[in-house]
């Protein structure tokens, strides 16, 4: 295990020595890529910049990853996987009211992405993500969105059957019930995403509070 600090390392020494970050070289590369991709963009970030920030020369990076794409793929998945795992737990928990579970998912999602050192949420929007290479990530994300959809549907139907006030549901006739659900899902998903982006401008606000306020806003949008 102890490859990190301590004993001398195998292999030719790095030309520029730095205070041991405690991270494995691959993790150092990922951290460097996260910072550079979010601040300068993916296409504008060179392999040299990533490697050098991770403390090694450009060519040495290829000992650990196949190139920039692999770094992006891994970063993308690392942002969405924890949210999805939590979403699955929530979907399975049929003891808690749906609205409460929806609230919990919104909070967790915003907090996870706002609390990290970089704005990894912004990576979702890179045009490069549409490439075939990142299909796996897009699938995971679609599954997360579907979890939102299910929780919203359950929240709405619980609210309607409880209060019988169909007025809250807006123009939900019944014919366009599916369209209504799709619309609410897009509004909530848009809020979550947009709010994460806006947060970057005001990073001094505690992520915890902000996530909680966003979750409240999401429930108000859904109308429960």
């Amino acid at each position: 295990m102890g490859t990190s600090s301590g004993g001398r390392r195998v292999g030719r020494p790095r030309v520029v020595q730095r205070p041991d970050s405690g991270l494995e070289p691959r993790a150092e590369l990922l951290a460097a890529a996260a910072e550079l991709f979010t601040t300068h963009g993916y296409a504008a970030t060179t392999t040299r910049a990533v490697a050098e920030r991770a403390g090694m020369r450009q060519a040495s990076m290829y000992h650990y990853v196949s190139g920039k794409e692999e770094l992006l793929a891994e970063l993308l998945e690392s942002t969405v996987t924890p949210s999805l795992a939590y979403a699955r737990e929530l979907l399975a928990d049929d003891a808690t009211p749906a609205a409460e579970r929806l609230r919990a998912l919104c909070r967790a999602d915003v907090e996870l992405l706002c609390a990290g050192p970089h704005n990894l949420g912004a990576l979702y929007l890179l045009p490069e993500v549409r490439a075939e290479r990142f299909a796996a990530f897009r699938a995971v994300r679609a599954e997360l969105k579907d979890a939102y959809r299910q929780l919203i549907a359950a929240s709405v139907s619980a609210s309607v059957s409880a209060t019988a006030s169909a007025a809250t549901a807006g123009a939900a006739g019944g014919a366009s019930a599916k369209g209504e659900l799709e619309l609410r899902t897009d509004l909530v998903f848009g809020l979550i995403e947009g709010v994460i982006l806006v947060h970057r401008s005001e990073p001094e606000r505690p992520a915890r509070e902000f996530a909680s306020a966003t979750a409240d806003a999401a429930l108000r949008i859904v109308g429960v």
Copy 2:
């Protein structure tokens, strides 16, 4: 005037002739840049790609613009300027209730950006926009956000004084009144931005309806 179609044009003919688009060369370049920047990203778009899509050779582009940056700057300003103009009108109109004006601004903003052929809203998020070169754009955008802030403040105070139900205002003690306003503004602004991005996935939904639904959602977030 009639430089567009009709009579023969001055100068060496283009090597690849195309059905006259009716646009001036500079406008053709802007349209090409809009498409490429939004689909492939700014850094990943080459001057060659822009020029060729506009029907001219790479070098000819420099006859009209100084480079990619100028194209981006112009596209950015063209997306935010109409919204800001409308926001100023609304701020001046003290005959209409604030909540109604806020609703109108949200609608217009979403509709303007969703109705266009490309997702110009996504350009806001390019990391390159943080560069000094685009300070003018960022200033315009900050002014637009301030218009939101003012309309939200006016909506809330009208609502509170009318119904005296301070409960709607959430945890608005009074000490953190400014923080509350800032929070609501970020939530609404985040919703507007996020929703524009989400819309791209489902472009078959009419922009008009979607904008209207978003405006309703914004008012529910604000709590009026």
